[in-house]
Symmetry: C2
Subunit: 381 residues, 2 copies
Amino acid sequence: MELNLNRADFLANHWQKKPLLLRNGFANFADLIEPELLAGLAMEEAVDARIIRQVNNGWDVEHGPFEDYERFGDVDWTLLVQAVNEWFPEVQELLSAFRFLPDWRVDDVMVSFATENGGVGPHLDQYDVFIIQGGGRRHWRVGERASNLVEVCPHPDLKQLENGQFEAVIDAILEPGDVLYIPAGCPHNGIALEPSINYSVGFRAPNSAEWLAQIADQLLASELSFPRYQDPELTTESPSYQVRADEVAQVRELLITQLHTAIGADAITRVMSQSKRPLAAAENTLSTNELLSYASTDMLIGRTPGARILRSPTGELYSNGEILPQLNESATTALLELRSEQPLAHLDQILGDRQACECLVELIQQGVLYLVQEVADEDDS
Amino acid sequence: MELNLNRADFLANHWQKKPLLLRNGFANFADLIEPELLAGLAMEEAVDARIIRQVNNGWDVEHGPFEDYERFGDVDWTLLVQAVNEWFPEVQELLSAFRFLPDWRVDDVMVSFATENGGVGPHLDQYDVFIIQGGGRRHWRVGERASNLVEVCPHPDLKQLENGQFEAVIDAILEPGDVLYIPAGCPHNGIALEPSINYSVGFRAPNSAEWLAQIADQLLASELSFPRYQDPELTTESPSYQVRADEVAQVRELLITQLHTAIGADAITRVMSQSKRPLAAAENTLSTNELLSYASTDMLIGRTPGARILRSPTGELYSNGEILPQLNESATTALLELRSEQPLAHLDQILGDRQACECLVELIQQGVLYLVQEVADEDDS
Ligand SMILES: O=C(O)CCC(=O)C(=O)O
Ligand SMILES: O=C(O)CCC(=O)C(=O)O
Ligand SMILES: [Co+2]
Ligand SMILES: [Co+2]
């Protein structure tokens, strides 16, 4: 799948700056999931799904798993399902069109199915998002960031904009294949003209508190020994209950110094390499020799949707919050580019190198990668 | 209790720098707790106690609660009990001698009872500590910080110095009332010449990772909205799996900027004001009017050992990880100086001010302060 977009122009003028409407961003776009399958997925315990609807001039939010949809009627509601890419490879494939943006920023693909007049109301997000119009049409309005936008909660689980008013710079009826780009913080509102599907490719941008918490987790888990607080020169002047400004400064400097070390950069990169949800470790153990024996079968290997493999500024491989052993250049590249399912046998650069094989086994054990038997054609069975 | 010490000289030349032996630091020192009481305390589930002993040329560590001590024999072991100040007001009182050091740095008073030849072996601590010799005598050796000291674990729960050798700058037999000051990181070893008690007044110095974790907890609990990560100017050059150095720098700058804000300083001060262990909230609710009605009784008020009340560099009151409402100057000082039990009725500066009363009630509810009926003399009963 390819996105019709001038990337350089987009990065310079729109990304994190200004909304954009791309008519026919995906040519001949066909839905990646049927509404019935989406509704079925939202019946699963492990899936994060919501129905947002207008009732009696108010708003209601219900959380999945859902048992049936009849009681919601034919109009005024939207079903929103998070991380559909983690369940449907076709939806995961959509992300390949966004490889001109940093992998570690990708959050997930949310898919929504709206009935006529369905929508979630005018709102802001803390995520940068591309919304791809699938089957059906929706009327979208998008504004620029503005300081006068006030958020309110018409329902405890729903944030919208007060009064619902904002000045639109995009006001359009989206047809299948059209793509909207909405930077974090820009007001937007979509209303379905008919039953319709939207795909939201979201890019996370953790806030300072979230980063601090996750970096601290990484540092503490490392069990390294870290520099400790040291008092500034103390005097007998201030009472013992007085916290001095230079004590607070001393704490701050301790942390800033830590962030500037290689250990600080390592912790930041580990955080970037973590998946949104913890990966499920493989159920069976695998030896390097077993892996090599599979290379002569039709076994496929793929990357678990949501799992990240990154290369750090200094060239190290990171995945799942950990640093991987140094491999030769071609094995490194092969690992980084291993995404959708392919025959294991094709991974020459890895299979030919013992250390790279061990690394591959480790990634399979952690659930970053998976092995799967090629599915036989139906008429074979 | 008063410590015979030239404070200015100590702060300038010893604190966090160099060990010091203070002969007769406490004149006429009498034990603050009997060995039998300490042994009894170590039988409680809630108490953090260890016995460290030498067995067959090796070391053994057992954790409390203990049921009896007979099996340990007459020699070669030490019972160490943490935070005895939280259980015995007499031990808490010892801290009053150290009010020339910042309150928020105080960790606890650990008390050890050693049998003849008992000791925990040569080791380092990450804490600055004053060791006060109670009843009995111990032979203490203390060295300066040195880069060649290697830590080993003769038992999973015990760190000691490899070979046990270090050059001593203090080598002395401590008598009751003698005080040792040992900066964090200085090697030391004490061996009991006879059954003897030591009081260790410890000062915590959290490391960078611990600060980050606690500051993050404070920020996340505040439910404020924090600035989010923003990409540097992106280009189409690097592959999506490449983390760029300026992306890591962008994260770092986001955090450094956050630490420099007033919100950052507030979070740091909140962390400083937290007690070592969570305080137990009061069991009954109390109204301001009830509090005022107690003022005409012989009710006493005191600060829970381990609870902190601090004043920030900008003059705000902090306690138990929270900022308190602004009070007038004299009420503020009265609260800050309220430590050991005193008649509630004496707190004129607080009782005469409605807002200060409400603050007092809040601190009582949180368990920072407590009310207690004056204990009647025994022959009254
Ligand atoms: O799909 C929808 O109705 C809402 C999508 C949206 O607002 C978003 O992805 O930010
Ligand atoms: O009391 C003891 O035996 C050990 C004391 C000690 O090493 C300390 O407080 O750092
Ligand atoms: Co949105
Ligand atoms: Co020690």
